[in-house]
């Protein structure tokens, strides 16, 4: 009888040890998961390219129109960037040159129901290779690309539509 009780106590102690080992294993897994998650979240840079691209489109729209009237003169200007107060200068970082942005503006005829037809590229600046990359994927390791349609009237009071494409690379600092 006494032997049986001793055996029970021994097996209970052995169980407690096994449980303790499992407990420490769980603690270790939880700690490793926390460290991994924190590093994967804070180790990545903040991706602000979407906001940047939206600001750039807004700036272009503000520049090519005044009170809703499209300014065709500025679209034909070779100094478009200077006139719109846009600069593509970037900081020196991992071989970045002035090829971190891309702009292309299309002017289209206004048409129902899609809003536009017969779009023609009016001007383009920056790195136009973005477009090919954006067709595959936007964001992440690829440049962030944005296309926005805007509607205006021209000086003859005719409806005009524009399609503005903007690409922001800066991949190394945003992904």
């Amino acid at each position: 009888m006494q032997n049986k009780i001793k055996m029970k106590i021994n097996s209970k102690k052995a169980m407690e040890k096994v449980v303790a080992i499992y407990w420490f294993a769980i603690l270790f897994i939880v700690a490793a998961a926390c460290v991994y998650l924190v590093y994967s979240f804070y180790g990545k840079p903040y991706d602000v390219r979407e906001i940047e691209a939206n600001f750039l489109v807004n700036k272009i729209v503000d520049c090519i129109s005044e009170n809703g009237i499209l300014n065709r003169e500025i679209l034909n200007s070779p100094n478009f960037l200077e006139q719109c107060h846009i600069t593509f200068d970037v900081e020196e970082f991992k071989g970045w040159e002035e090829n971190q942005f891309a702009i292309e503006i299309f002017v289209c005829e206004f048409a129902y129901p899609d809003g536009q037809k017969n779009c023609a590229s009016k001007l383009s600046f920056g790195n136009q290779n973005f477009k090919k990359n954006c067709e595959l994927m936007s964001g992440g390791k690829s440049p962030f690309c944005l296309t926005r349609n805007s509607y205006f009237i021209d000086v003859n009071r005719e409806k005009v539509s524009t399609k503005i494409f903007v690409g922001v690379r800066k991949t190394e600092k945003n992904d």
């Binding site: 603690l27 939880v30 700690a31 926390c34 460290v35 924190v38 590093y39 804070y42 840079p45 903040y46 602000v48 906001i51 940047e52 600001f55 750039l56 807004n58 700036k59 960037l81 200077e82 107060h85 846009i86 600069t87 593509f88 200068d89 970037v90 900081e91 970082f93 942005f101 600092k173």
Partner: protein
């Protein structure tokens, strides 16, 4: 009686060890959240986006409490945290490092200076278009 005493001590030690473990994890997470690199990147990008969205003449007041506290704890003065040269914003909270630089596309003459009337505020001023 002796056995009960042992059981209580074991449980207390177990709970204390667990609390120590959780505290270390929480401290680790907070240390990463407020690391110098994260603060510098956050404010450099925030300021360059502010400038991108601003028109001359405007003045933006930005609270940089955690950056100022970090810089002061590193022995850096509050006046040298943010610098804007050309179209590049640099935020530095440690005098030994280079800080973090991010550019803005808005071609404006912008400047940043510490507001002496407040403890943690920087003033970002968009004076005029650059050209």
């Amino acid at each position: 009686m002796q056995k009960r005493g042992n059981l209580l001590t074991e449980n207390i030690i177990f709970i204390i060890l667990n609390l120590v473990f959780v505290t270390i994890l929480v401290l680790f997470i907070f240390s990463r959240m407020s690391s110098e690199a994260v603060i510098e990147e956050k404010y450099a990008k925030q300021i360059s986006l502010i400038v991108d969205g601003a028109k001359p003449v405007s003045e933006i007041h930005l609270n940089l409490k955690d950056a100022v506290e970090k810089a002061n704890s590193n022995g850096m003065s509050s006046e040298n945290i943010v610098t804007i040269s050309g179209n590049k914003v640099n935020v530095k909270v440690n005098s030994n490092g280079d800080g973090y630089t991010y550019s803005f596309f808005n071609d404006v003459d912008a400047s940043a200076y510490f507001d002496p009337t407040s403890s943690f505020t920087y003033i970002i001023k968009i004076n005029s278009y650059a050209k």
